[in-house]
């Protein structure tokens, strides 16, 4: 038996759930298809940051700032404590080379209205009294924030269900077909058949697999990120922490070549953030190893040596768990948001890589606006899947 909906969303991760929330808010009849569990992909295996400082000045920074504003009110809107906190963030700088690049980066971010500055060693010590002396300076943004992704997903999910969303899980798409009446037909491995005018591919790292059913090639690959979790401990410093070592290699190709081979291979960039419950999440790696989500001794020990380099005091703290998630990495580092050309009604909302949590609210809102034909909160033309074509052609 066929069931008809306005919109079918594939993927119950944070992007799919946010989109469902904003669509049901506009009265749309939504079906969510999830092949495993809510948040079983990347959204349940990541850290908790809304890091504004790491965003390249441009549309992604604008979206992050907009999401930040939205998160402030979402706990109340969703009637769920999302554990949203603004503790600020610092990117630790170890040498003059890094300092020079970060100075320029900070200048550009400020021109986009981001509240960020460089602070000297003395001020670093005030905010992070336990940091090692190797740190010569740091960036500081008072508005870097965090949120509990598990709570966000729960909040979006429950509110969408309350507004009539249906969910079929575990249920994996096996066929996607455009019918002559303009509807899309979605068939699943549990022998269900659904029809809708609009299908949204929000399958994250699995978006390329889902795209194939619709005959769309989507250049998104899984990028593994390993993270270690500590026991619950008191606060180590005032803010959450990142290191400049990784960020500068993204900004300067010369430095990228000079980087330690193992750190470069594993894509190690330190992130050090405390959840409201007191556990620190220490990340992370960035590895292209297919859909493998195992944690490795090599990955975890290198992450931990990075954090010890800055905070030797952590030697006596225990790791209670390690985990890994697959970040949906698009070919040009930007998500795909919008309708696919020549596939009327087939939309993509995927490819956020490590920014899914930070960008989820604005992504969901914009997707809902697109589907309802409304004016968009932000112009996202440059994120249009139209650029797929250019990437698919061999150049």
């Amino acid at each position: 038996m066929k069931k008809v909906f306005d919109v079918i969303i594939i993927g119950a991760g944070i992007i799919g759930l946010s989109t469902a929330y904003y669509l049901t808010k506009k009265g749309k009849k939504v079906l969510m298809l999830e092949k495993k569990e809510i948040g079983s992909g990347s959204s349940g295996a990541c850290d908790d940051m809304i890091l504004l400082q790491s965003k390249k000045p441009g549309i992604l920074l604008q979206m992050a700032l907009e999401s930040f504003e939205m998160y402030k009110c979402l706990s109340e809107e969703l009637n769920t404590d999302l554990e949203f906190q603004t503790r600020g963030g610092m990117i630790l700088i170890e040498n003059q080379e890094q300092l020079k690049i970060m100075e320029d980066f900070v200048r550009k971010q400020r021109s986009y209205g981001l509240d960020v500055e460089l602070i000297d060693k003395r001020d670093v010590k005030k905010k992070q009294p336990l940091v090692n002396d190797r740190v010569i300076a740091s960036t500081y943004s008072p508005i870097d924030s965090q949120v509990n992704p598990l709570r966000v997903m729960k909040g979006f999910y429950m509110k969408s269900i309350e507004r009539g969303m249906e969910i079929d899980k575990p249920s994996s798409v096996t066929a996607l077909k455009k019918l002559s009446n303009g509807y899309w037909e979605v068939v699943t491995d549990n022998n269900k058949c659904y029809h809708a005018e609009v299908v949204i591919n929000a399958a994250g790292a699995w978006a390329a697999e889902v795209g194939k059913f619709a005959g769309v090639e989507i250049p998104i690959k899984p990028k593994k990120g390993q993270i270690a979790v500590t026991e619950q401990i008191p606060c180590v410093g005032e803010t959450n922490i990142w290191d400049a070592d990784y960020i500068v290699t993204k900004l300067d190709p010369v430095l990228a070549e000079k980087r330690d081979r193992i750190l470069a291979e594993l894509g190690i960039g330190l992130s050090f953030t405390q959840t409201l419950d007191g556990n620190y999440l220490i990340g992370g790696t960035r590895e292209f190893v297919g859909f493998d989500t195992k944690t490795t001794y090599q990955g975890i020990s290198n992450i931990l040596s990075q954090v010890l380099k800055f905070f030797p005091v952590l030697r006596n703290v225990h790791i209670i768990r390690t985990f890994a998630g697959l970040r949906p990495a698009s070919i040009d580092g930007k998500p795909f948001l919008g309708e696919v050309k020549d596939k009327e009604g087939f939309f993509i909302a995927a490819g956020h890589e490590g920014d899914g949590i930070a960008l989820a609210p604005i992504t969901g809102k914009i997707m809902a606006q697109m589907i309802c034909g409304e004016t968009l909160s932000l112009p996202v033309d440059e994120l249009s899947p139209d650029r797929l074509k250019t990437h698919c052609k061999p150049s």
Partner: protein
């Protein structure tokens, strides 16, 4: 005594009532219950509560215990002091999986 107030997960102090509430709200697997309640996310990583949470899910949904997929196991098996990793000093040589 009101049994719904009993702690199922002692590390994170999650009660029977909270587990049941998560299931009522749409959690259908052990991982989903864990993510929504934190049961099993504490120091012992579910060694104590894992089976009891499974029993509650089985009772509430009518599914047999053996049909329920266990929540994900991850290393380390026991809490490990961060300093130990430094002392071992294995960097690029070992690619042994942690699980």
């Amino acid at each position: 005594m009101d049994e719904t107030k009993n702690f199922v997960c002692r590390c994170e102090e999650v009660t029977v009532e909270e587990i049941e509430e998560a299931i009522d709200n749409g959690a259908t697997t052990l991982n989903e219950v864990k993510r929504w309640t934190r049961a099993g996310m504490g120091l012992c990583q579910g060694r104590t509560c894992r089976k009891n949470v499974a029993r509650i899910l089985s009772r509430k949904t009518g599914r047999k215990l053996e049909e329920l997929m266990p929540s994900t196991y991850r290393k380390p098996v026991r809490p490990v002091r961060i300093g130990l990793f430094e002392e071992k000093k294995i960097r690029g040589t070992s690619n042994e999986n942690m699980g």
